[in-house]
Symmetry: C2
Subunit: 116 residues, 2 copies
């Protein structure tokens, strides 16, 4: 049991769109990631998807709407809803999903999420 | 589906130790609360307890250790572990627990968590 400093964890992450697990909570992964550019549209049929922006600005395309999220703003994408995060400049984000959730919605294309 | 600005939600909360629900995520409540003074020691036998400090400083007594958390620092108290948050000055915190979790660990003494 120890505290997790999100900024210190993010300093260990370089590549965008590479969630790193920093804590566990009731079977969920608490992750940090850097967003830059556009991620593919996808959905998670089985789970909601929680985003909390820590630094920068994230554009979250959710079906046919775009939500603009700044620091201290969170968004929950419900299970099964197509979405795509984007960021013109690097943004830093905390994510929570059940452990094992593929980041792309598809185990075939998902990245490994290292624990740091 | 809309974004949640945590600072705007916290501006609607006055009393300390009164978690307000701002979003739902896979059956969990995402809450904001102000901490000031000392909360009673308690535990949650069935669930981990996630704290993320947004503003100020929180002292988290966990069994016989005290963890000092500042903004951007999170802590997961595992299920069944006795803990007590404290704050000398007002601190602002995001919490996540399964919906219905009593904030004191005991339904008899728990506060109602309004949704805002």
């Amino acid at each position: 049991m120890k505290k997790v400093n999100l900024a210190e964890k993010l300093a260990q992450v370089s590549a965008p769109w590479s969630p790193h697990v920093v804590a566990g909570f009731n079977g969920n992964d608490v992750m940090v990631a850097k967003f830059q550019g556009a991620f593919p549209f996808h959905d998670h049929p089985e789970t909601d998807d929680l985003f909390l922006v820590l630094e920068g600005e994230v554009l979250l395309d959710v079906e046919d709407e775009t939500h603009v999220l700044g620091p201290g703003e969170l968004f929950v994408v419900p299970a099964g809803v197509r979405h795509r995060p984007r960021a013109a400049q690097e943004a830093k984000v905390m994510l929570i999903e059940p452990a094992g959730t593929p980041n792309t919605g598809d185990p075939e294309t998902a990245v490994h999420k290292p624990r740091i």
